[in-house]
């Protein structure tokens, strides 16, 4: 039986990571970390940890030693922020950037170690709450997006007063608005935002995607070409409609 192969979904996802900013000398800083860990055995377990070494004057060997030291303490580093590319070998955690601040993690209270050990309580992970609704960020571009250019804005909506050329790409965490002709690719709602939409004044797009579900030019209704169109996600399918 022939089945239609499922297209691979390309999705973005954001996680809340704990950011550790070590200070020199590392011996003292690690001693402080040991002290913190002694108070709460499971504090670093299961938490994704990002090492922020921005502004630290260390070399590759020192960084590697620090990552090893942390590994011995069961702190597994998923990425390193603020490192020069030359400092990161293939065996090191990858570079991370564009981190945005989030609410701080509560360190365990001083007295916890003295209290009777309650393994269950330590292991309890509070389910990650949706961050309080913030005003979504938006980016307004008043020039055409040229072939070969990528406009990447995972923070929110993108509005383009101009056209998006064939071979150009717009990636937004939120919705995408094009007040011109959309000839290139538009990928909206990349941060698992299924309510994002794509709007354009004239549709000639090569590809449009919302939250990982996509439509290629071939799959689009031919009568939508050249029209003002909006695209949204309904269940697992992209819907298109003519505007106005």
């Amino acid at each position: 039986m022939l089945t239609k192969p499922r297209p691979i979904r390309l999705k973005g996802r954001s996680f809340l990571a704990l950011s550790l900013a070590p200070e020199l000398p590392f011996e003292d800083w690690l001693a402080g970390l040991d002290d913190l860990a002694a108070r709460s055995a499971g504090f670093f377990l299961r938490r994704p940890v990002v090492l922020d070494i921005d502004g630290l004057d260390i070399d590759k060997a020192e960084l590697r030693k620090l990552v090893d030291e942390l590994g011995q303490r069961n702190v597994r580093v998923m990425g390193i922020e603020g490192a020069r590319p030359s400092m990161l070998g293939p065996d090191m955690p990858p570079a991370m950037n564009d981190g945005r601040p989030a609410s701080d993690f509560e360190p365990p209270p001083e007295s916890e170690a003295d209290e009777p050990e309650d393994a269950a309580a330590v292991e309890t992970v509070i389910p990650a709450r949706q961050a309080p609704a913030q005003a979504t960020a938006s980016l307004v571009v008043t020039e055409p997006v040229r072939s070969g250019q990528t406009l990447f804005f995972p923070e929110g909506d993108v509005t383009i007063v101009g056209s998006v050329a064939s071979g150009a790409e717009v990636v937004a965490g939120g919705s995408i608005h094009v007040y011109g002709t959309l000839r290139g690719r538009a990928l909206a709602g990349t941060a698992s935002n299924g309510s994002a939409r794509i709007f354009c004044r004239k549709l000639e797009a090569e590809l449009m995607a919302i939250d990982g579900f996509y439509l290629t030019a071939e799959d689009m209704e031919p009568d939508l070409r050249g029209r003002a169109v909006q695209v949204w996600l309904e269940g697992h399918a992209l819907r298109t409609g003519i505007l106005g």
Partner: protein, 271 residues
């Protein structure tokens, strides 16, 4: 201080070298002091189109490497005395063009000439990016055809990011030169129309050069088309483009060909 213009396109074979030679000659015919610089190291053509191939001694790479003085490498045109050529090297590699060397040469030329026209190689690599690096103005040569238009769009993006002006937060003035245009075929839908190209690229139009046998004939004669036959349709189009380049507000038209009977017949029908 002279103006530095890069003639660029991304795609090959659209008419960069022909246009560099024709515009350079047309400016010189108006009495301006012009140098046309060939940046296509390894595949130089400008010397042939300008009919100077037998007079090349030193080239751009020799000057950059300090093997020759700029004045030794410049070749003065035999027909128009204010027109000069700085040829590219045919034997060396593009890697011999260094950013510092190019900067020095362009600065020196800018002092000595009214117009410095840089004929860019095709592509978006070193040669092309160095040719556009110091430009005040760019002429984007495009054929009315989708792949050429998309490549031009890519080049415009680079002009807005990789040039000295862009890095200083200024803008390189960009102009579109539509070449090999055939109004009859555009009307039939075999070619993109002028408005379609302008809509996609959204930069001002400097001129439309009609598709013409005169261009090929002039190239083979080793003469810029504006020198070979001043009255031909492409030559008139280049002269008009030069007037617009100098700031004149001249409406853009397609200078007509001398048509035969059938041309007239179809031409009228299309209109």
């Amino acid at each position: 201080m002279g103006k530095v213009i890069v003639v660029t396109s991304g795609k090959g074979g659209v008419g960069k070298t022909t246009s560099s030679a024709a515009l350079g000659a047309a400016l010189a015919q108006n009495g301006e002091k012009v140098v046309v610089v060939d940046f296509d190291v390894g595949l130089r053509n400008l010397d042939l189109v300008m009919g100077a191939e037998r007079r090349v001694v030193y080239d751009l790479v020799n000057v950059i490497q300090g093997e020759a003085k700029l004045t030794q490498a410049l070749i003065r045109d035999k027909r128009v005395e204010t027109l000069y050529l700085l040829p590219a090297s045919q034997t060396r590699d593009k890697d011999n063009l260094t950013p510092e060397g190019v900067e020095k040469v362009i600065a020196a030329l800018r002092k000595a000439f009214d117009w410095v026209i840089c004929d860019s190689p095709a592509g978006i690599e070193r040669g092309a990016t160095l040719a556009m690096r110091h430009a005040d103005m760019a002429i984007v040569v495009t054929n009315p055809e989708v792949s050429s238009v998309r490549d031009s769009d890519r080049i415009i993006g680079l002009l807005d990011s990789k040039t000295q002006k862009a890095e200083n937060g200024e803008r390189v003035e960009k102009h579109l030169l539509l070449t090999r245009y055939d109004p009859t075929r555009a009307e039939r839908g075999d070619m993109l129309k002028v408005d379609d190209v302008l809509e996609i690229l959204s930069i001002p139009l400097l001129g439309i050069i009609p598709e013409s046998m005169d261009v090929l004939r002039a190239s083979n004669l080793g003469s810029p088309v504006t020198l070979a036959d001043e009255g031909s349709a492409p030559a008139r189009a280049y002269f008009d483009a030069v007037r617009r380049l100098k700031g004149e507000a001249l409406p853009v038209t397609v200078p007509g060909e001398r048509r035969g009977f059938f041309g007239k017949f179809f031409g009228r029908k299309a209109a």
